[in-house]
């Protein structure tokens, strides 16, 4: 148990291990004593519940409400100086974008989290077995098309895809859903049509290219993906709890967890928006191939909500339509915010392999579709 750890560590740091028999003996006694104490805890569960939690979670973890209160108090007291430091235009612009990304993304994250909790608690696993074709190769395009019914931006699709994998949906299909949902739902396609009033073919191109890339990624995962890459973080067991407890437990866990990673992504996006100069784009627009790459990279860095990215793409007037298509296909599939959230939901090893593959395939898909349709 965690409580026994400090003693051996302390001994190690003072003396080489095993040199002082007396100290070891003391340690052992100490350990035994703690064990006995712990058993007592188990017997008198109610009274000792808090101490038990302390022993299990480590002393620092159990102090978190205190830490939180102190932190808040300190910040309230130091408001003046902090405000002064934050009043520089760069910092203000950074903070505005940071807060804006979160205020915009949180409602969609909450929507996705509610949906994922509902899937985890109320939808039986057998439902997905019946709804999706048995063969994974067929399940991938079906799941990809199903992405069209989740009206929201990319923040909602990550927790939902996580819940699908936990519910026994084949990962290839869940990943196709993860990639297609933010790009091909009706809200996003309507926004694209409004942003490109003179190029209605852009809507079709976006739909086709996004669905294509999502399906290819799904099939690719089915061929090459290994289950040990996909490490879903452990979460509390919900069996034996009432449905309400399980539902709210899942909501709490997902918001705290995915929310933390969303903050990382928002910080990265705000830094780029506030610091990186926009003028380098002008030089990139001259070469058609560089232009496509530049806009794909920009889509990753800016991390704009997929409901709004069409308007930003439309304003990049000096770029070709194919380059804009690359921006629209890459953005909803992979960006800084999404990468952080995927790493949190599916594990870092997964995200490090999945993100570059998605990026490369999304560009290829956009160029291919652009050559045919635009």
């Amino acid at each position: 148990m965690a409580i026994t750890k400090p003693a051996p560590i302390g001994a190690d740091s003072h003396e080489p291990p095993g040199h002082d028999p007396e100290l070891q003996e003391v340690d052992q006694k100490h350990e035994q004593h703690e064990k006995q104490k712990h058993e007592q805890h188990e017997q008198q569960k109610h009274e000792q519940h808090e101490k038990h939690e302390q022993a299990a979670g480590g002393p620092r973890e159990s102090k978190s409400p205190l830490v939180l209160t102190m932190l808040l108090l300190l910040l309230v007291l130091l408001q003046g100086p902090i405000r002064g430091a934050l009043s520089a235009p760069v910092m203000q612009s950074w903070m505005t974008v940071f807060v804006a990304v979160l205020v915009q993304a949180l409602p969609f994250l909450v929507l996705g989290v509610l949906l994922s909790a509902a899937i985890a608690v109320f939808v039986p696993a057998s439902f997905f077995a019946r709804a999706l074709p048995k063969r994974p190769a067929l399940a991938v395009p079906v799941a990809g098309m199903a992405g069209a019914v989740l009206p929201g931006c990319e923040c909602a699709s990550v927790p939902v895809a996580g819940a699908l994998v936990r519910r026994g949906v084949t990962p290839a299909a869940a990943l196709a859903f993860l990639l297609s949902a933010p790009a091909i739902n009706p809200i996003v396609l309507t926004a694209t049509a409004v942003a490109f009033p003179r190029n209605p073919e852009m809507v079709l191109a976006r739909f086709v290219a996004s669905l294509l890339v999502a399906c290819v990624m799904g099939w690719l995962w089915q061929r090459l993906g290994r289950t040990d890459w996909l490490r879903l973080p452990e979460r509390p067991q919900y069996e034996g709890q009432s449905r309400g407890a399980a539902f709210w437990g899942s909501v709490r866990h997902d918001v705290m967890h995915a929310g933390g990673f969303l903050v990382i992504g928002a910080m990265a996006a705000a830094t780029l928006k506030a610091v990186a100069p926009a003028s380098w784009l002008r030089t990139a627009a001259d070469n058609p191939l560089v232009a496509i790459l530049a806009l794909a990279v920009l889509a990753v860095l800016l991390s704009i909500c997929s409901e709004a990215d069409a308007f930003v793409a439309a304003s990049l007037t000096q770029f070709s339509l194919t380059a804009k298509l690359a921006f629209l296909v890459v953005g909803p599939m992979i960006d800084l915010k999404l990468f952080a959230m995927q790493a949190g939901t599916f594990g870092r090893g997964f995200a490090l392999r999945f993100a570059p593959a998605t990026f490369a395939l999304a560009i290829a898909g956009a160029v291919l579709t652009g050559a045919v349709l635009l």
Binding site: H46, E53, R83, Y238, R252, H257, A308
Partner: protein, 258 residues
Amino acid sequence: MNRQAQAAVLFLTGAALLHAGLTNLYLRYVKAGLQPLLLLSGGVLIAAALATVWYEWRGRKGEAGNLPEEGHARGDDGQAHSDDGHGHVHHETRVSWLLVLPLLALILVAPPALGSYSAMRTGTALQQPFGYNALPATGPLRLGVVDYASRAVYDHGRSIDGRQIKVTGFVALDHGGRPYLVRMALNCCAADAQPVKIALTGKIPPVLQPDKWLEVTGTYTAERTKDPVNNGPIPYLRVTAATPVPTPKDPYDESWNN
């Protein structure tokens, strides 16, 4: 982070979203259409916080009563396991602490809407509109920055030539000190906000502070310039008078959303 702290962060985040959504604070960061979703998600977060506290409390009371039945024992085992302090859970809970940052930024600082700093780093986002609304036949015209700029550039000022025009926006100065009247146009949130700029000429006030909001009265002029950032077109407005005004309720131009 243990359950109580998680409940506290959830509650505060929900309360901050409700606060932002119920006042005009949210308009500094996102489009007006997002208000219902903001309020809803704030409510859900508060409910999650209350549910966490409630189940925690009931769990303890249940354990106090009778000796654990099968179900309870299992649930508790799962909890003990997940709080056991091995790497994964620690990593996870540490990430959750980051949620405190936006909370502090929103409650304590409440950063202002994007202003001249962002506007001068980004090229004008003026685009040719579908068409133009009919304007009142007489009296001074009250136009938005986007409306004036698109009529001046793409309609060659046909509908506004010779009329007295009033435009509201904030001041931005470029490197040479040339003044612009700017409004940020927004589609979803401030991360995608883009400026639309009008260059000022004529009777410009002697001292111009960047980010100060002005109501400028003036007339159309055919003169134009190019945005140094993206070569986009920027029309001029010949100023006859300028009065300082407070920051409008919605600092962004959302005309593209409709």
